[in-house]
């Protein structure tokens, strides 16, 4: 009867038989790499791994798709508890705090590279990317892998039908609201505006861009005792605006997480907010002229917006009792390989993720990639247009997956008309603080 609740015990038990112990196959050291990108993006991961394997004969990286980001992370954690973790696990950015708090379970990347004698200057990486995955001393803890940022996607045909300019696109929220109102009034699209990833776009990105902390203690970078800051007037303003737009019919809630993203390439939504990594899909599916631009800001809050934050995932090195120095060496070599300018540039251009390094960005620009693909550099601009402040370097909040869901739930209650913006933010703040305190208690090392 309790098949579904064999959570603790069986997770490890089930994971165990699938993990081949690291063996030397044909004289090569095997490195297990679990990732969570499906479809076309997953194929690109496999392609890059194959290139690494062909580039040398000492190591073989064995990449396997393990389901969603959540499944990769929980699977790898369960496997670590059972003593058979993969060498490398791809963990999404919201899992960062949980991984950082995992002390003996992970090996920081700067340590790993240091032991292998590989020098990777953290300053090679884009600030928004580097900051998210570094400790307070600026040392890389995990390896940047696939990073995106949120962008505003605009259906230019719908704008034209509404009589809006297709060259001077909205830059502020006031302009977005005005455009959405016109689109609704002229019936230029089924939905005026919608969003994917409601928490990530409307709260995390907006908090960074407007330099207002989502939480205290530099968004948790300075300690586990951070508290949520959703009671700040800025978040009230942002929430009120969304609720007002929805009530007027200018904004349509598209569902949690990525669910709202489908309406834009289908031509149903005139304005959409979604990850820059959605570019490949839009290019393939959109039967209309479109543009991707940086996110709007409230010009009455900040005159020149700060940098946005990243989304996506990074690569974590798991420890295990029987790991050999040679295996760690193999992991380090793989990390060096994917940071290589040619590799990084290729990854950026075929996936739509931002390049990890400045060098790959420069190389792409030099070969005219952004002239051929206008808007492909909007995410990079947004990530690097300002030096990150403590409020815009990223988030290191324990239980962040849960916090994201809490914000989505309270926002939904607002959209349902069950509560106003102030109550929504107060509830989200209170519930998220409980999560933070529980995480603090569970992870306090004495």
């Amino acid at each position: 009867m309790l098949r579904r609740s064999l959570l603790a015990g069986s997770a490890g038990l089930l994971a165990a038989p699938f993990v081949a112990p690291s063996v030397k196959a044909q004289g090569r050291t095997e490195i297990q790499f679990w990732y969570g990108l499906g479809g076309a993006l997953g194929e690109r991961v496999a392609e890059q791994v194959q290139r690494f394997n062909e580039s040398q004969s000492r190591f073989r990286v064995n990449a396997s798709f393990r389901g969603s980001y959540v499944e990769v992370m929980t699977g790898a954690i369960a496997a670590w508890r059972a003593g058979t973790p993969p060498h490398i696990g791809q963990v999404f950015e919201v899992g960062t705090a949980t991984m950082m708090a995992a002390g003996p379970a992970i090996r920081p990347v700067y340590e790993l590279l240091g032991e292998a004698g590989i020098e990777l200057d953290p300053r090679r990486y884009l600030p928004g990317v580097r900051g998210y995955y570094s400790d307070t001393q600026g040392r890389l803890i995990s390896m940047p892998h696939n990073s995106s940022s949120a962008l505003m996607w605009i259906n230019l045909d719908a704008f034209e039908r509404a009589g809006l300019s297709t060259t001077r696109l909205p830059r502020t929220w006031a302009e977005v609201r005005e455009a959405a109102r016109r689109i609704r009034e002229r019936g230029a699209a089924q939905m005026a505006a919608t969003t994917a990833w409601p928490t990530w776009v409307m709260y995390e990105q907006m908090s960074a861009i407007h330099d207002v902390g989502l939480a205290t203690r530099a968004n948790g970078f300075e300690g586990l005792d951070a508290e949520m800051n959703l009671g700040h007037p800025f978040f009230l303003k942002q929430t009120s605006m969304l609720l007002e737009m929805q009530r007027a019919g200018d904004f349509t809630y598209g569902g949690r997480d990525g669910a709202g993203g489908a309406a834009f390439p289908a031509g149903q939504a005139a304005i959409s907010f979604n990850s820059s990594a959605g570019r490949a899909q839009v290019e393939r599916d959109a039967r209309f002229r479109w543009a991707s631009v940086v996110l709007p800001h409230h010009d009455d809050v900040i005159a020149s917006p700060r940098n946005g934050v990243i989304g996506g995932a990074s690569l974590w090195v798991f420890t295990a009792r029987n790991r050999t120095a040679e295996e760690y060496r193999g992991i380090a070599e793989f990390f060096r390989f994917i940071s290589d300018v040619e590799q990084d540039k290729w990854w950026h251009q075929v996936t739509g993720y931002v390049p990890l390094t400045f060098a790959a960005y420069e190389a792409s620009r030099a070969e005219g990639y952004y002239e051929r693909n206008p808007g492909a550099d909007a995410a990079i601009t947004q990530l690097s247009r300002a030096e990150p402040t403590p409020n815009s370097q990223g988030f290191r909040l324990g239980g962040f997956v849960e916090i994201r869901n809490i914000i989505q739930e309270e926002l939904e209650r607002g959209f349902q008309g069950q509560q106003d913006a102030a109550t929504a933010m107060a509830n989200a703040n209170r519930r998220a603080n409980v999560v933070l305190r529980n995480f603090e208690r569970a992870n306090r090392r004495t």
């Binding site: 009867m1 015990g9 069986s10 959540v70 708090a101 149903q268 997956v401 209650r413």
Partner: protein
């Protein structure tokens, strides 16, 4: 009444039982025991630091108004799924039991949905009810009904109940059909000769004789609604909007696997385990008495 087989000695019966007992021990008692133990602990995701916190996980749970809402959701969900799945299946079984042309085909078609995986069933329902891409969803909106299960909690509950019940109808149908076929013709003919009309024959003769099947299905359906509907909810609504379709099992999954809070998740599993034990006990104690074998 029941035939007993007498084994010489005790070794053979234990040996024959051993595989089943071993499976029960490994896949039920061991994890269930672990869940009980973990429910008293507070741990980080990796199990690096562990504290014994006594009943605190349970106290937190029952002090959480959202958890109480989840209990209510689960009751509404389970009762609705069971009622719909069983009544529709009974109706279909009665219809398919009659002498009609092509009844083998009907039967086969009715059994099909059982082979559909929960997540696939959910996707089918998305294609039916999604307000933008769904067949009915678009039609409803076209008729002026404000249909959007992504934001309307009651509509979301309706969709997950329909999807979960639809999947279970086939299973119930099979058992009801077998039950109907095992009712002796002579009893029905006797009732007909006495002048009982079909509806009356059904309620006074057929339905009581079906009661063992109905009782069995009641237990199975409630268990299904409690434990096996997770995939449907996950793919359709993820427990939303707000917490409108979050059930006990779904929340235990979210807290354990997604939020990595094993203590709370284990406490919820223990609560579920106790609830189902009480429910089953209650059913056998009070409802089974009314069942005619």
């Amino acid at each position: 009444m029941r035939r007993k087989v007498i084994f010489p000695g005790t070794a053979l019966p234990y040996l024959l039982l051993a595989p089943q007992l071993a499976i029960t021990a490994v896949f039920f008692f061991w994890p269930a025991g672990e869940a009980v133990w973990y429910s008293f602990l507070r741990q980080d995701a990796f199990g690096i630091s562990t504290q014994f916190v006594g009943l605190e996980n349970f106290q937190d749970l029952f002090a959480d108004p959202l958890y109480l809402q989840v209990v209510r959701n689960t009751l509404v969900f389970s009762v609705s799924v069971t009622a719909i799945a069983m009544s529709v299946a009974l109706l279909l079984a009665v219809l398919a039991d009659r002498h009609i042309r092509g009844r083998e085909t009907y039967r086969t078609l009715l059994i099909w949905p059982y082979a559909v995986a929960p997540a696939v069933a959910a996707v089918l329902y998305i294609f039916l009810f999604h307000p933008n891409i769904g067949l009915f969803g678009r039609a409803l909106n076209g008729m002026g009904v404000a249909w959007d299960y992504r934001l309307n909690g009651d509509q979301a509950m309706l969709v997950v109940v329909l999807a979960a019940a639809w999947k279970q109808v086939s299973y119930n149908f099979l058992f009801f059909l077998a039950g109907l076929q095992s009712i002796p013709r002579s009893v029905l003919e006797a009732a007909a000769i006495d002048g009982a009309r079909p509806v009356r024959r059904f309620w006074t003769v057929v339905f009581p004789l079906l009661s063992p099947t109905t009782f069995f299905l009641l237990v199975i359906n409630l268990t299904y609604a409690f434990f096996d509907t997770f995939g449907i909810i996950d793919a359709l609504t993820k427990g939303g909007p707000a917490n409108a379709t979050q059930t006990l099992i779904y929340r235990a999954y979210i807290d354990g696997r997604v939020n990595l809070d094993l203590g709370s998740s284990s406490a919820q599993s223990v609560v579920l385990m106790v609830a189902v034990m009480v429910l089953t006990l209650f059913q056998f104690r009070f409802i089974e008495r009314k069942v005619h074998y």
